[in-house]
Symmetry: C2
Subunit: 218 residues, 2 copies
């Protein structure tokens, strides 16, 4: 996960040709981003439940009213942080894949994921914990956010099939799911056993080897 | 998970030669079990956070003081339910394995696990959610409780190696971990997608096929 890099100026002069924001709109975007960053810090520090809107507002240097002007409640704020961070993490993974064999690209991508998220481990723990006990609507939105990450895994596997490194009949969705479950589960080793990024990377490497053993063509 | 079958009389006349409980001790065991059963029902109904000691006491037909005489706090009560249920579920899985190939025994055991726990799905969700955000000491105790389940998986895999159905160099701990991660993750399909036990069983079957594909000897 990352500290957001977006600022009002980068939004105002978007290179993709979206309409420029006027001053008032830009200020609104800035405020929203300030709230998001303060919320991210607090969720990462304490987890979901103990983080209060009051303390998030304090961290952003604004009133609780200003927070509520941007987000309906803590749950919506949490989801906005989640969505932003998952998108950033997916980019990190995609870049981290690099070149090489399917196995290496997959392990490199996932290792980059650990590298890019470990400093906000409690936030990640809060996200997974919440994913087990939330309203269906929240789950649907969270899946959409997580989708960007699993898409990176699936993309690498599909390229492996296309390149003939994996069997043509490899079940990419099932392998993606198993890889993702293993990836996620390993965070608990970091949380409770103090595993470093290197240890996580080595472990997911062995797990990927096991998962691909049945579908590798050589 | 199960409704506990233990009663004061079965404890008092333990066949394993443990000392018989006197009347007062037996009453204490009965009370403790009543609290545990009421707590299990409430955790299964509401999840961990919203369940209160007050309502657990009410469900058990006793005062909150009587609950606290047996358990220090809600966390200890939750762990006691968890330990009892995991032990019961491990037994269910072990019996469910039956005869047949390693693959079939593993899938049968895990399917029996789903069958024996699906009626208390919210309790299971609460257990997993909590496992992501709890003190290390609680995590250590929870791992000990979960160990009985992963031991069933590991046992079946080891027998498969011994029988020559799996490669001699199969990494049993790693396969156990991947199988367990997949097994656990599937509960989310039941929680959010309404999957039935049959759907869960079919899915874990495909996952086990993928996991064993690289280590099966034929």
């Amino acid at each position: 996960m990352r500290e957001s890099a977006s600022t009002a100026s980068s939004v105002a002069s978007t290179p993709s040709g979206e309409p420029r924001l006027n001053r008032r709109q830009a200020a609104k975007v800035r405020t929203r981003q300030k709230v998001l960053d303060a919320a991210r810090n607090l969720f990462a520090e304490r987890g979901y439940e103990p983080a209060t809107i009051r303390d998030i507002a304090k961290g952003a240097g604004m009133s609780t009213g200003a927070v509520f002007a941007n987000f309906q409640d803590k749950a919506e704020l949490f989801e906005a942080v989640l969505t932003e961070d998952m998108a950033g993490l997916a980019e990190t993974m995609q870049k981290g894949a690099g070149d090489g064999s399917t196995r290496d690209r997959l392990v490199n991508a996932l290792s980059a994921g650990y590298h890019g998220s470990i400093d906000q481990l409690p936030l990640f723990q809060a996200i997974v914990a919440r994913s087990w006990f939330q309203p269906v609507a929240a789950e649907t939105r969270q899946r959409a956010a997580t989708r960007s990450l699993t898409d990176v895994i699936a993309g690498i596997l599909r390229q492996g099939v296309a390149a003939g490194e994996l069997n043509q009949d490899a079940d990419v969705p099932l392998l993606t799911e198993l890889t993702w479950d293993a990836y996620l589960s390993n965070y608990r080793r970091a949380a409770y056993d103090g595993w470093t990024v290197d240890q996580l990377a080595r472990h997911i490497g062995r797990q990927v080897d096991t998962l691909l053993a049945g579908v590798a063509t050589k």
